[in-house]
Symmetry: C3
């Protein structure tokens, strides 16, 4: 509110600046960038399926307008057959915790991939972390947009009907349209 | 525009607030963050060379001021010898689509690396996706700044003349100067 | 400042718009998004420990309010035993520079992991790049907040006392609270 004196005199320079600063403060509180998250999921293994889904569901649960763009190997995550496609490989990742230390060449032997995949699933289940199936369902319930990359679908030979119901289709431009409005933009 | 009554009375508190909101709306439409993209390319394999180049060219084509910062293994992408340096390894990536299923230890045998690299090139070519050479050319035509990380060049023993013409050189501070103005910041 | 004529007449529409634009310009210069960086460190190998620490210390040194969220394999970086846990694997990364070219199956043999790790440490030391220990110390000196992901700590069986002094603990929501204020948000 302008003071009575200001009203009488017409609004002064200083009074106007004060009002502008008040409005800017207001606007900053609904900073739209802070309300959007745009995440790329590009990896197709079980371990790397968790971060985009956990981040997206957490963002959406806190009221952010959230989308995940699945591209390259990340298409596995929203493929109808994701349960079978998402595996882990211990090989090439010395940071992967293994029940017993083993030299790299052993981690490449037949049977070690399924062993590592089973181990990771039971580690997560043991700590009551949601499964990928549950995270996908939560994401959709919370309104997270799941977008499959049309270009890499073509390259890898996938059709739209290969993907989970509710998945949308778009290109890099679709991702950038979302991301250019968002503070949180992550390439997983 | 103020109404005639407002002009006569001097601008009122409410009239000023209305003008401020109009100007804020305007300003939001040229939200400078939305017009900048700063991408880090840190991987040096053929598959991971595509995403930063596709995202950057798409961003630049839509009018965004775009830069890619090539660091660590990502230096391969702007190395003069990128055609030979960019390979794929099927090993350690169970998400990599293979023509026939094969156990992990087979993917490590001599000859499998070149096979996977050739296969990926032909998959992309078959779908008329631009090659890395074409994407690099488009990026430069569209004004994408290509910056090689000076520190990792030193560590890996590269000289400036090892890189493609037009590549600039800078450090993490150069990337952050760009990224701190951009909504779209991605680490690939 | 309004001109004398404007003061006499009461502030006009145009004069107010000019003031608003001046204030907006000012506000853009202390764009709070430009002053925050929120980085996720999710990889647990020696090579991928460098980028989040180098980016974070550079950001903090330039006055940005910076945090790193360590999750999944990235927990290794702030584990008390990080010196032993951070290794590199040449396997599965054909972009890793090796002293002599070697077929993939050789990089998987016992002894090649330690060789690659030692080689990388000496490459960085030779170029006077700070060690991980030094980067962690700088980060803390510069006020970078180091946050370990509570959920993945539980999954991997870590306790709070397994981590370096000064490390905080939080979840994805803690990361998003920081990231939603920041232009620079990176998933390493």
């Amino acid at each position: 509110m302008l003071t009575e004196q200001e009203l009488t005199a017409g609004a002064t320079d200083e009074a106007i600046r004060r009002i502008v600063r008040e409005e800017l403060d207001q606007a900053a509180h609904h900073d739209t960038g802070a309300k959007h998250a745009a995440i790329i999921a590009s990896k197709g293994t079980l371990d790397w399926a968790y971060p985009p889904l956990i981040l997206a569901t957490t963002a959406a649960a806190s009221g952010m307008d959230t989308s995940i763009f699945f591209t390259f190997y990340g298409l596995n995550i929203v493929h109808k057959d994701f349960e079978r496609k998402l595996k882990v490989s211990a090989i090439g990742n010395p940071a992967m915790p293994m029940p017993v230390p083993m030299p790299t060449f052993v981690t490449g032997l037949p049977g070690m991939g399924p062993l590592a995949t089973g181990m990771m699933k039971s580690m997560f289940r043991g700590k009551h972390v949601a499964t990928i199936a549950e995270l996908l369902e939560s994401a959709q319930d919370l309104g997270v947009r799941l977008v499959a990359c049309q270009m890499t679908m073509d390259v890898f030979g996938y059709a739209q009907e290969d993907f989970l119901p509710g998945v949308e289709f778009g290109g890099a431009a679709a991702f950038l349209a979302d991301a250019s409005k968002a503070h949180v933009t992550l390439f997983v």
